[in-house]
């Protein structure tokens, strides 16, 4: 028997993280977590030192988005933990696997209002998949194993471990729990991954019988690494596909069956195809309100097959005809098998030719469009995006903040590969893109990472570009600067009689100087003549981060748009297309 090895809790934590194959973590030290930062000096794990703890959280998310592996953030107690609440909630809403370590005051001081004490597990309880206050050094290895297991299995999500200072300074006898011990320690956690065979057979029958079927893909397809098998299902049945905001890239935009994004700012074809469908095959989506519009009039004639690993999603918004709880990849594999079996047995697929041609008719009549700006006027944001997209190197990862620029990016970019689109969907966190882009680039140094940001978003988390510079993680930021909180301004124009209240960001700082102050290259683009050269320059710089400010039209609006609470049938089209509305009926 080997000699007993005595470690401090801090050493055990770092070793446990190494055992979980953590290669990078994002954090900022402080009083209570200090003991952990000492053994970190001797660790193989790369630590990225951020400028604000929220940045660490979003970086961990960006890392997780593009790798599928859990992102790890480590910060101290009190204000650091509260700064982490937004990224945790963001990760919770978008089912991003993440493990967050927070320091805590020593066990004997808990509850005494000690310096930098806060009730971290209490505060984060409703924004994490699970959290745990670890009270003994010897519990650390098991807590870490549980955290990674919970974060990455079932419906992924963030897990937080709160570690009091004396717990990480005390010593323990090192051990590493086996898989069996981890599972036995979680008697209430058994995610269902395999779909019910009867339901799968039922789904296959409905798929072959439908006249107007539609594949409705959500983020679950990416979480389950199901893109390939979903494509096989689409091609086998020739059923058109919509990809929600969280599923952009899960099915290639350049595929003839791809209709793009549905929802509040989806394209007219994708929105209408959902409305008119007689069978929605929901793979890993959750009937989010931004997709359904008014639920009562959403896809009124559609039967629903709902594949989701989270049983609580079944029937939460829309009652499914065929609920299937399970992993998207495993279930879709079984559905493909069942469809093939039925076809082999001689069950024919209903002819969906009429539906397909109706859908392509919509695509022809209602393409994405915008009006080019007048000579001398500010640039159109869509034009900038098209230019960025067309000049982007193969495999570019695109990260966005939240607002108009996010919707335009999702609409105008062509995502032909999974895991190339990173954004904050459910929570809608402004300021997400700069740190998330840094996290994505840290995970995939081989890829170009473009963050598309707004001027409002950029001002929330821009300081993380200092992190990018000091850590040598070189990202590219495009600021679509319309000098407004653009999406809010759009709502005030459309729904508040043009009464603009607190949306004017005029008096923005000089973004070029700001970028330079943070060690980045700053470029300003004001006219169409400058745009190609500026983007080419940005793409050619690989030894520094680049910030390109595009001075874009202030009053440009995102269309199509389904107003909040309205039916998808009442989508507001691009103004020049409104006269053709009858073709959508």
């Amino acid at each position: 028997m080997s000699k007993k090895e005595i470690l401090t809790g801090a050493e055990a934590l770092i070793r446990a993280l190494e055992m979980e194959n953590v290669d990078t973590m994002f954090g900022l030290p402080g009083g209570c977590i200090l003991p952990v930062y000492d053994p970190l000096l001797r660790s193989s794990i790369r630590h990225v030192l951020v400028r604000h703890e929220q940045g660490a959280g979003h970086m961990a998310q960006g890392y997780a988005h593009v790798t599928g592996r859990p992102g790890v953030a480590i910060v101290t107690s009190g204000p650091a933990a509260t700064n982490m609440v937004t990224p945790l909630c963001d990760a919770f809403m978008d089912s991003i696997p993440m493990v967050c370590i927070t320091g805590q005051v020593s066990t004997f001081a808990i509850g005494t209002d000690a310096f930098q004490e806060c009730d971290t597990v209490g505060i984060t309880r409703s924004v994490t998949k699970h959290n745990e206050l670890v009270m003994r050094a010897e519990d650390i290895p098991m807590a870490v194993r549980q955290a990674f297991h919970i974060a990455t299995t079932g419906r992924p999500g963030p897990v937080l471990l709160d570690l009091p200072k004396d717990v990480v300074t005390n010593t323990m006898e090192w051990y590493w729990p086996t898989d069996e011990e981890v599972l036995a320690s979680l008697p209430g956690y058994h995610p269902t991954t395999k779909g019910h065979p009867k339901m799968i057979k039922e789904a296959a029958k409905l798929i072959l019988a439908a006249e107007k079927p539609l594949l409705y893909l959500g983020g679950g397809v990416l979480k389950a690494h199901a893109a390939e098998i979903v494509r096989e299902l689409a091609e086998l049945t020739q059923i058109p596909v919509v990809t929600t905001l969280m599923a952009r890239g899960a099915f290639p935009d350049n595929h003839p069956l791809c209709l793009g994004m549905p929802g509040m700012h989806g394209n007219a074809t994708a929105i209408t195809a959902m409305q008119k469908s007689d069978l929605l095959i929901n793979l890993g989506a959750r009937f989010d309100d931004r997709v359904t519009g008014k639920v009562g009039s959403f896809a009124p004639d559609a039967k629903v097959i709902h594949v989701d690993i989270d049983p609580a999603e079944q029937g939460k918004v829309r009652k499914p005809d065929v609920p299937i709880v399970g992993d998207c990849r495993l279930v879709t594999e079984e559905i493909v098998k069942a469809v093939k079996e039925l076809l082999a047995e001689g069950t024919p697929q209903t002819d969906i030719g009429a539906w397909r041609s109706k859908v392509s008719g919509w695509q022809e009549k209602f393409p994405l469009q915008y009006e080019q700006s007048e000579p001398g006027a500010r640039l159109k944001p869509q034009f900038c995006l098209e230019k960025l997209r067309d000049a982007a190197p193969e495999g570019t990862i695109v990260v966005s903040g939240v607002g108009q620029h996010q919707m335009w990016t999702s609409l105008f970019w062509k995502f032909n590969e999974p895991y190339t689109w990173v954004n904050s969907g459910g929570l809608g966190t402004m300021g997400f893109s700069v740190p998330a882009a840094i996290g994505a680039k840290a995970a995939r140094p081989d890829r170009t990472v473009w963050a598309i940001d707004g001027d409002g978003c950029f001002q929330m988390t821009a300081q993380e570009l200092v992190t990018a510079t000091t850590e040598g993680i070189h990202v590219k930021i495009a600021i679509l600067n319309n000098t407004y909180l653009g999406m809010v301004r759009q709502w005030q124009e459309m729904f508040y009689g043009e009464r603009y209240s607190q949306v004017d960001l005029a008096g923005c700082p000089d973004f070029v100087k700001w970028a330079e102050a943070m060690g980045c290259v700053g470029i300003r683009v004001e006219s169409p003549e400058e745009i190609d050269a500026a983007i080419a320059l940005a793409n050619s710089i690989n030894d520094r981060s680049v910030v390109v400010e595009f001075c874009v039209e202030e009053f440009e609006k995102v269309f199509p748009m389904v107003p909040a609470g309205a039916s998808n049938d009442d989508v507001m089209l691009f103004p020049a297309q409104e006269s053709q509305r009858e073709f959508l009926r």
Partner: protein
């Protein structure tokens, strides 16, 4: 809040549901469970928690007054909690329920006998007697407690505390027979 003079605290619009939730016996579990109700602004009517025969687990009996659809959702959400091992919704017709009440009642001299008599009728126990008050305890079905409480109010309740109900599924006829047989052999 309980409505006064009513044996149906849930009114007409709501149904009463009893959830029996088996959880790991660990710190924070109750906060997790109650938090799920709180964030949806559902009121927990009563709650009883105690370890089971296996000290690794506790059983929470929670009575809520919500309708069927949100109940299904909240049950699913509860089940997602890592520490929740099992959830059973107990149909009052198919379960046995008990609750305990302690009540201190104001008494004038001549009333003491009346309260004792009342306690006897209900098979309640007299726990303490003072000069102008006495404390009684009663366990039984929640309805029986309601009735007893109603009658005590006539004398003036100084303080009372009910435990909230605990419940277990009723044994089916067959299961009962089986249990008896098992015992005999």
């Amino acid at each position: 809040m309980r409505t006064i003079n009513s044996n149906n605290p849930f009114g007409d619009s709501h149904q009463h549901h009893v959830l029996s939730v088996l959880v790991q016996n660990r710190p924070g579990v109750l906060a997790r469970v109650s938090g799920l109700f709180a964030r949806r602004a559902y009121n927990i009517y009563s709650l009883a928690v105690a370890p089971t025969d296996d000290p690794l687990y506790s059983r929470i009996t929670v009575v809520v007054d919500i309708s069927e659809t949100p109940l299904e959702q909240i049950t699913k959400q509860l089940f997602k909690l890592i520490d929740v091992v099992r959830i059973t919704e107990l149909d009052p017709r198919k379960s046995v329920e008990r609750e305990l009440m302690l009540a201190t009642v104001k008494i004038e001299d001549e009333q003491r006998g009346q309260v004792v008599e009342l306690a006897n009728i209900f098979e309640a126990k007299v726990l303490a007697v003072g000069i102008d008050a006495m404390t009684v305890s009663l366990d039984g079905t929640p309805e029986k407690l309601d009735d007893f409480e109603e009658l005590l109010k006539g004398y003036g309740i100084v303080e009372s505390q009910r435990t909230g109900r605990v419940a277990l599924p009723k044994l089916e006829r067959e299961a009962r027979k089986g249990a008896l047989k098992g015992k005999a052999s």
